[in-house]
């Protein structure tokens, strides 16, 4: 057993959820989201907790977690910037935007700044190509992002203001 545990409320929620499916294993996706909400990221002990809770094998959870890019296995900074570099955004300058962003934060895509304030990752099409280039910041879509906008974001983030 791992040290990570769901709170009793969370467990109730999971049990209600599981009842909606024919098999407990079908609830892997939503339960992983809950776990990520609770623990920030999906470490192996957390994945083991999900596996034990649903009565499936750890490997199955691992397969699901790694299949989808929106599950994070590593801890990330206080602010998560997800830069789309798929076709639409690439045509509108996403690659340069990403390079600039990384330069400003002095990290590589996939990394977190030393002060744990920002993490940057590269993601596939977010389905909002109309507003390319897109950066998803802490879950919100920011469309037609410019370098200037990024400066703003970084400044706000540094002062702990909501972005």
């Amino acid at each position: 057993m791992s040290d990570v545990q769901f709170s009793p409320q969370r467990l109730d929620e999971i049990l209600t959820l599981v009842k909606r499916y024919p098999k407990a294993q079908s609830a892997i996706l939503p339960v992983l989201h809950m776990a990520m909400e609770d623990f920030g990221h999906l470490s192996i002990p957390t994945q083991q907790l999900v596996a034990d809770t649903l009565g499936v094998r750890l490997m199955m959870v691992r397969e699901v977690v790694t299949f989808y890019t929106m599950y994070r296995e590593k801890p990330c900074g206080r602010n998560l910037l997800e830069v789309c570099t798929n076709a639409g955004c690439m045509l509108n300058g996403a690659d340069e935007l990403l390079a600039k962003l990384c330069e400003k934060l002095k990290i590589q895509p996939g990394e977190t700044t030393d002060d744990d304030m920002f993490s940057v990752i590269e993601v596939e099409c977010l389905g909002a190509c109309g507003g390319a280039p897109i950066v998803q910041i802490n879950g919100d879509y920011h469309e037609n992002v410019t370098e200037h906008h990024l400066d703003d974001v970084i400044a706000k983030g540094r002062t702990h203001d909501p972005i």
Binding site: R57, L58, M59, M60, R62, T66
Partner: protein, 776 residues
Amino acid sequence: MTTLFINEEEVTVAAGTSILEACRQSNVDVPYFCYHPELSVAANCRMCLVNVEGWPKPPASCCTPVSEGMKVSTESEALVKDREMAMEYLLIHHPLDCPVCDQGGECKLQDYAMEHGSGKGRYLEEKRIIKDKQLGPFVTTSMTRCIHCTRCVRFADEIAGTGDMGVLNRGDHMEISSVVDECLSSELSGNLPDICPVGALLDGPSHDVSRPWEMTRHQSTCTQCPQGCDISIESRGQDVMRIQPIEGSPEPWLCDRGRFVYDAFRNESRLLKPISKQEKVSWNDAINDSIALLKDKRIGIICSPDWSVEGLSAIRLLRDTAFKNAPVAFDLHRRDKRSFAFEEGFSQTTQQIEDADQVVILGSDLRQRLPLVMQRIRKRVLADKPVVRIGSMRYRTNSELQKDMLIRPRDWVSVIASAIEQVMALGKQAAGMQAWLDATQDRHEAGKVLADALLAETCSLLVGEEIRCHNDAAALIHGLDLLMRGCGHAEANNDGRNLIPEGMNAQALTALFAKDRMSVSDIFEDANQGKLDAILLIGSDPIGDGLFPVQAREALKKVALIQIGAIQGEISDQASVLLPASAYSEVEGTFINMEGRVRTAHHPLEVLGDQRPLWKIMMRLLQALGQDIPAVSLEELRIHMHRFIPELTKVDDKQQDAIFLSSARNRKSILPTQITLRTLDVVSRYSMYREGMWARSSELLRGAGERQKLADVIMHPDTLAAQAGSIATLDTDHGQYQFKIDVRDDISPGVLFISKRGIAGDISNVVSVDINGGSA
């Protein structure tokens, strides 16, 4: 049955067969990677495309069932193109490794690239590289070569039951991985490199040392457990490189014990020269020294069950001719020498066990003892067929058993008694039941589990070491036989009595020696009391293995030891003379497995030292003892063998699987006896990586065994409030011992579970102990 046409030939196969399987059965070549007859169908390599008349697109033959009148063609211009494309796709990231890859020469990818590939790749972009992994002690990887067929993942899920392999990531980033690096805790892990169609999963010990085409193959029988798998021992020059399964054998897999024991075939523990008084000597001198110790002496014979039947027959000839009344023991664990209602050996094939309505495992660590029978059990469980177990520990399995009852060894009588009572209450009778019941007092709830299972139409009883080595084994087995009879499991047509033997050739051993059988402890006892002058030990190690190392050591202080063997054990230091015999891998001969299946090895491994086949040593001894030699050739010896075991005359290579030797039966009534016991029952455990001289000499197995090690002395936490780490003083009939206790809750309360070796080795012969206080 379904009739279809493959390349215009009419073939008939069972309904529901896949097109690929139909092609395989009719020897039509269809290339495939991900399909494996023992695994579920994944259909992800797309190599097995065929044309079906009237179908717009070529289907994957591995996942398309046949239908009546279907017209399949496996060759067409379009298919040539399709296969070429499938190959190009599979080869996109594949490195040009063939010259340095272990698989080269027996690689599907290589063969198909030659046969179906275009000879040139068009992919110029960056290739990806995947980090290598270590999967357990025996499997290394070169993951960049992986073609994602997922055979290994399905193997881990379906066969090994560990489920610790999987597919991580997606698309171009996809990779095969274990849960954590360094995983795969299966006793069948050595099969992974075999099922991997490419050179991604590699046999660790033979990695980077040889090429398949350099090997000489020696078909033989594994004698590392009673299963007796068909093996192909592969050698290059004088070195043994690896052991491989033989295609088309009764069991599709080999276990790690049998596969990786081979390093002991050629290591320094082998006995290659005759030794007398610790000095290497000539055969003549050694024989003379042995004769000096044996001639006109009272001897006890202890032999290992793993010699070929020819070798065992030669032992019998030696005994009959020169040592008429010598006691013989061929098992280091059995305490009860009376003959059993059903003797060691199976009455069913493993397939019949898999198919039976019910399977009952009684007191056996089946997964370690008979890993491939456990595999059959696992197949049953996956198919929702019941398996129940009664025993003193919930031995690790890889499947969930329907019922799993914990009892102490002393409870067997009351379990069987209560089952008999319940069966009788249903009006099912067998003569002798009442007498058996009358000899008992207590009843145990686990009896219900046994009785319920026996009521099934067909029931396989797998009777294990906890009963076989029980003091009162003959009575218990008689009780089980009564139950089987009462429940209509007639020996003639519905037998299910399987007593798991200690080693190979159980049926032959019973036929050869049953009359003169002793428990090995009796022989040591006789030696101690001055009733014997010498012990002739042929092939086993009663100090390193078995339940009686203490008695063995005591006895050897009093009598001389002449040891004949292929490998030295812990006892060898004490031998006055050591005569080297050829190992199982080095002899031509007959072997019989627990099912009674007969195999003949024809192409033995080359002998490196001065060792001789056992039968020749026996004849030489007879000659030196001044006796006529009963056989001067293997052919002559086989005449004697056939006289001892007439069934063997019927066996020839062509119908190897048609004849099964049955185990001996005894209809005499044997009733349980009441004995007083101390408070705790002692059960000694078995480790597939450490039991036997071969396994202990194998460094490969020793390494794997380390990972599975348990503490030497284990109890249930409820047993006298045992605490992990506390030191307990145990009173036995032979004195006091102190041990550090570990606790686990998968052991029956009231049982002291010990390893036969190490600190607890000295009490392995003890049946029960009193615990005398414990201190933290």
